[in-house]
C-alpha cells in the first residue's frame, strides 16, 4: 500500500474511533441539562442522583473524545499537507474557530461540571452543565462547517498564493460558513448525536429495570432518554430528507452512487440491492442494481416532487469522477434502514409509555439494551457514505484526494503511526467498555460507597 492509501486508511480509522465519542458527549450534554433542570425545578433528590451518575459517564466519554480529537486537528498537517496548503485559507479558519468558541468552553466548564459540585451553588453548577452542552454543540457547528465546505465549497476563489502556487482563498466568509449543505448536515449530525446518547441511557436504564435494580432511577432516566430519542428520530427523518435533496442538487455523482442510478432518467428507489457496474466501457452498457426491491419513480418524487423528473445518473460523469458505488450504496441504505428502525423503536417505546405498559414489556427492554449500537452504527455508516461518496474529490469539484496527500510522505512512517493508533485505540476501546461496564454495575448510589475504602483511608491518613 502506498502512502496515499495508508493516509486514507489512517484518517478513516482515527476519525471513526473519534466519532464514537463526540455524539455521546453532545447528546448526553443535552440529557444532563434536562435532568439537572428537573432537579432544580422539583428539588427531588432522584434527579440529583441521575445527574451525578450520568456526569461520571460523561467524563469518561469526554476524555477519550478529547484524546482522539487532538489527533484529528494535527492530521490535516501531518498526512494531508498539500490539502492544507490548498485550502488552509478557508478550511483552517473553521478549525481555529472551533478551538476558540467551542473547545475552551466545553473543556473549561467541564471542570465545574465534574469537580465543582461542592464548590459552586446549584444554579452555577447548572450554568456549567449548560455551557458544556453548548460548547459541545458549537464544536459540531464548526466541524460541520468545515466538512460541508469540502462537500459544497462556496465563498472562495482560486488565486495564486505564496510562491505563485494556486490555492483557495476566502471571498465571503458568511458564504463559506453557510454554504449549501452546512445547515442540513448540522441538523443531521445533531439529531444523530441526540439519538446516540439517548439510546445509551435507554440501554443502561433498561438493563437496570430488567435486573430490578435502581428502579426509580431507571424509570426516570428512560422517560428523559425516550423523549430525546423520539424527538431525535422524527426530526432526523426531516433532516435526512432535506440533506438528501441537497446532495441531489449539489453533489449529483454522490446521489447517483447512493442509489446506484446509472442513466439520467426518472428514477425509482431501491430499498436494498447490489450494484453491478457496467461490464465494459461501451456507451450502451449500463450499471444496474440487482436482486433488490425497487419502488418505481420514488427517487424522482422524493427529490423533485415529481416521479417523471430525471435524476442525474453515474453515466453523466467520467469514470474517474464516479465514487465507488457499492461501498456508498450499501452504507447509505443500511444507515437509512437503521434510522427507520430507530423511529419504529422510539414510537413503540412512546406508545408503551403512554399506555403505561413500558416497564413490564421485558422483550422491549431487552431490545433497548442492545439498541445502543444502532445509532453508533448509523453514525459511522453515514459518515462513510458521505466521505466515500465524495470521492475522488477531497473538495468536491475542486481538488482530488490523490493530489492532497503530503508530498514526500514515506509509507514506512505512516505504517508506524497507523500501527500505533490501531494498537492504542484498541486498548482504549477495551478499557472504555471495561470502565463503563464497571460504572454501570456499580450503579448510581453505590458509586459513593465504592469510593469509600480509598476515601476513608485517605481521611484516616490525614
Amino acid at each position: 500500500m502506498d502512502a496515499s492509501m495508508l493516509s486514507r486508511l489512517q484518517f478513516a480509522l482515527t476519525v471513526a474511533f473519534h466519532y464514537i465519542f463526540p455524539p455521546l458527549s453532545i447528546g448526553l450534554g443535552l440529557i444532563l441539562v434536562i435532568m439537572e433542570s428537573m432537579w432544580l425545578r422539583t428539588g427531588k433528590e432522584l434527579y440529583h442522583q441521575m445527574t451525578k451518575f450520568w456526569v461520571k459517564v460523561f467524563a469518561l466519554i469526554f476524555s477519550i473524545g478529547v484524546a482522539s480529537g487532538i489527533v484529528m486537528e494535527f492530521q490535516f498537517g501531518t498526512n494531508w499537507a498539500d490539502y492544507s496548503r490548498y485550502v488552509g485559507d478557508v478550511f483552517g479558519s473553521a478549525l481555529a474557530a472551533e478551538g476558540i468558541f467551542a473547545f475552551f468552553l466545553e473543556s473549561g466548564f467541564l471542570a465545574v461540571l465534574i469537580f465543582g459540585w461542592d464548590r459552586v451553588g446549584k444554579k452555577m453548577h447548572f450554568v456549567a452543565t449548560l455551557l458544556v452542552a453548548t460548547g459541545s454543540m458549537f464544536s459540531a457547528v464548526w466541524i460541520i462547517v468545515a466538512n460541508s465546505w469540502m462537500q459544497t465549497p462556496a465563498g472562495y476563489h482560486i488565486v495564486p498564493g505564496p510562491g505563485g502556487v494556486p490555492r483557495a482563498e476566502v471571498v465571503d466568509f458568511i458564504q463559506v460558513v453557510l454554504n449549501h449543505s452546512t445547515l442540513d448536515r448540522l441538523g443531521h449530525t445533531l439529531m444523530g448525536a441526540w439519538q446516540t446518547a439517548a439510546w445509551m441511557v435507554l440501554s443502561v436504564s433498561a438493563f437496570y429495570l430488567l435486573k430490578k435494580r435502581h428502579v426509580e432511577f431507571a424509570k426516570a432516566s428512560i422517560r428523559v432518554a425516550l423523549s430525546v430519542a423520539l424527538a431525535g428520530a422524527l426530526l432526523q427523518l426531516l433532516s435526512g430528507h432535506a440533506s438528501a435533496k441537497g446532495v441531489a442538487v449539489n453533489q449529483p455523482a454522490k446521489m447517483a452512487a447512493f442509489e446506484g442510478h446509472w442513466k439520467t432518467s426518472p428514477a425509482g428507489m431501491y430499498l436494498f440491492g447490489w450494484y453491478v457496474p457496467p461490464a465494459s466501457a461501451a456507451t450502451n452498457v449500463a450499471g444496474e442494481v440487482r436482486g433488490g426491491l425497487c419502488i418505481p419513480g420514488l427517487l424522482s418524487w422524493m427529490i423533485h416532487g415529481d416521479a417523471a423528473t430525471p435524476v442525474t445518473g453515474l453515466a453523466d460523469f467520467p469514470a474517474a469522477e464516479r465514487p465507488p458505488v457499492n461501498p456508498v450504496f450499501q452504507t447509505y441504505h443500511i444507515m437509512v434502514a437503521i434510522g427507520m428502525l430507530l423511529i419504529v423503536l422510539s414510537l413503540a417505546g412512546g406508545f408503551f409509555w403512554w399506555r403505561q405498559t413500558l416497564w413490564d414489556k421485558r422483550w422491549f427492554l431487552r431490545i433497548c439494551v442492545f439498541a445502543v449500537v444502532l445509532p453508533q452504527a448509523a453514525n459511522q455508516l453515514g459518515w462513510f457514505s458521505a466521505e466515500v461518496g465524495r470521492q475522488p474529490w477531497i473538495v468536491y469539484g475542486l481538488m482530488k484526494t490523490q493530489a492532497a496527500v503530503s508530498p514526500g510522505a514515506n509509507a514506512a512512517q505512516i505504517w508506524a503511526s497507523l500501527a500505533m493508533f490501531a494498537v492504542m485505540y484498541l486498548l482504549l476501546f477495551v478499557l472504555f467498555i471495561y470502565l463503563l461496564d464497571h460504572k454501570i454495575r456499580q450503579g448510581p448510589q453505590e458509586a459513593v460507597h465504592a469510593a469509600g475504602p480509598a476515601l476513608h483511608g485517605d481521611r484516616a491518613g490525614v
Binding site: 469526554f62 481555529a96 476558540i100 471542570a111 459552586v120 508530498p407 470502565l435
Partner: protein
C-alpha cells in the same frame, strides 16, 4: 495594520498560553512518580484534575490557528516532523487517559500502570516539544518549494536534545511551584524541596542553552545585535527566575508561580525575537525559509480570524480565570476526585 505581524504575535501568545498552562500539567506528570504514597499521588493528580483538559485546548487551538493563519507553516512543519508529532500525540493521549483511568480501580497494579503512563506520557511529550522548539531555533532543511527535506534522526542533533532537556527542567520547575501552591501539610513540605532542586536543574540547563545558542545559532542572536535594547527581555527573564526562590523563601507561593509564568513568557518572547520574521528557518539554505509574509493566508482571512480572536479570546480568558478562581486553594480529595 500589519496583519501578518499581528498574527505572528498571536501565535506566540497562543503557544505561550499552552506552555504556561499545560507546562505545569506536564511538570506535575513528570514529578508524579516522586509522590510516595497513593494519597500523595492522588493529591498531585487532583491538583491539575479540573484544569488540565482546558489547558490542553491551548495546543489544539494553537494548531488550528496556525492552520488558519500560516497554512504553509502548518503543512510543512507537521508533515515534515511527522514521527515526532505522532509520538507527541501518542504521549498526550497516554497522559490524558492515565489521568482519567488511574483511580477508577483500587487494584494496585492498575494504579501503578497508569502512574507510569502519566509519567511517561508527560515526559515524552515534554521532551518532544523541546526537540520541536530546538529545531525551530536551529532550523530544519527546507527545499526550494519550502517542503521539509530532512529525515527523522537529523532532528535529534545535540542542540535540539539540549533544548529538550531544558524544556523538561522548565516544566518540572513550573510544575513543582504549582504543587507548592496547591498542596498542604507534609506533601507541601516535600514539594518545596523539589522546587529548589528543579530550579537548579533548570538554571543550569538554561545557562547552557543560552551559551550554546549564542555560540552555535548566531541567527538567533542577530536581532539582539541589531537592537540591543531587546536584551531587556533576557534580563527580565533572569530577574523572574531569580525572584522564584525569594518568593518561595517568604512563603509567597502564588507570587513564585507568577514569576515562573513570567519567565516562560520571556523565554517564548526570546524565541520569537530570534525567529522573526521567519516562522520556519531553513538550515541549510536560509533562502528557503518560510516567513510570516510568504507562508500566510490572505489578508481577508487574517482579518476575519483576528475578529474571531478578538471576540472569542477575551471571553475565554474571562471564564478561564473564573474557573481557576472556583478551584482556588489547596487541593482536597472528595467523592468526585480522580
Amino acid at each position: 495594520m500589519d496583519l501578518n505581524l499581528i498574527w505572528f504575535v498571536l501565535m506566540v501568545v497562543l503557544f505561550f498560553g499552552y506552555a504556561m498552562l499545560d507546562g505545569f500539567d506536564l511538570g506535575v506528570g513528570i514529578l508524579h512518580l516522586f509522590g510516595r504514597t497513593d494519597k500523595d499521588r492522588r493529591l498531585m493528580l487532583n491538583s491539575i484534575g479540573p484544569v488540565w483538559d482546558g489547558n490542553e485546548v491551548w495546543l489544539v487551538t494553537g494548531g488550528g490557528a496556525l492552520f488558519a493563519a500560516f497554512p504553509n507553516v502548518y503543512a510543512t512543519l507537521f508533515s515534515g516532523l511527522y514521527l515526532p508529532l505522532m509520538l507527541v500525540l501518542t504521549a498526550l493521549i497516554f497522559r490524558a487517559v492515565s489521568i482519567e483511568f488511574r483511580s477508577k480501580q483500587i487494584h494496585e497494579g492498575w494504579r501503578r500502570f497508569w502512574d507510569a503512563g502519566f509519567f511517561v506520557g508527560s515526559l515524552l511529550a515534554s521532551v518532544l516539544m523541546g526537540v520541536l522548539v530546538g529545531n525551530l531555533a536551529w532550523g530544519i532543511p527546507l527545499d526550494a518549494r519550502h517542503y521539509y527535506a530532512g529525515g527523522f534522526w537529523n532532528l535529534l542533533h545535540p542542540y535540539a536534545l539540549l533544548v529538550a532537556v531544558t524544556t523538561v527542567a522548565l516544566f518540572m520547575m513550573h510544575g513543582s511551584i504549582y504543587l507548592v501552591m496547591k498542596t498542604e501539610g507534609q506533601l507541601h513540605d516535600r514539594v518545596r524541596a523539589w522546587v529548589h532542586n528543579t530550579m537548579i536543574f533548570f538554571i543550569i540547563c538554561y545557562a547552557t542553552t543560552t551559551m550554546a545558542t549564542l555560540l552555535f545559532v548566531p541567527r538567533m542572536a542577530q536581532p539582539f545585535h541589531a537592537r540591543p535594547w531587546l536584551g531587556f527581555v533576557a534580563l527580565l527573564n533572569m530577574l523572574a527566575i531569580a525572584n522564584i526562590p525569594r518568593q518561595i523563601y517568604h512563603k509567597r507561593d502564588f507570587n513564585a508561580f507568577v514569576s515562573s509564568c513570567f519567565a516562560i513568557a520571556c523565554l517564548m518572547a526570546l524565541l520569537a525575537i530570534g525567529l522573526f520574521p521567519n516562522m520556519l528557518c531553513s538550515n541549510p539554505f536560509p533562502a528557503n525559509s518560510l516567513d510570516i509574509y510568504g507562508a500566510a493566508s490572505s489578508p481577508l482571512t487574517l482579518k476575519i480570524m483576528l475578529i474571531i480572536a478578538l471576540v472569542g479570546m477575551p471571553l475565554v480568558l474571562a471564564y478561564t480565570l473564573s474557573i481557576y478562581w472556583v478551584f482556588r486553594g489547596k487541593v482536597k480529595l472528595d467523592e468526585g476526585s480522580y
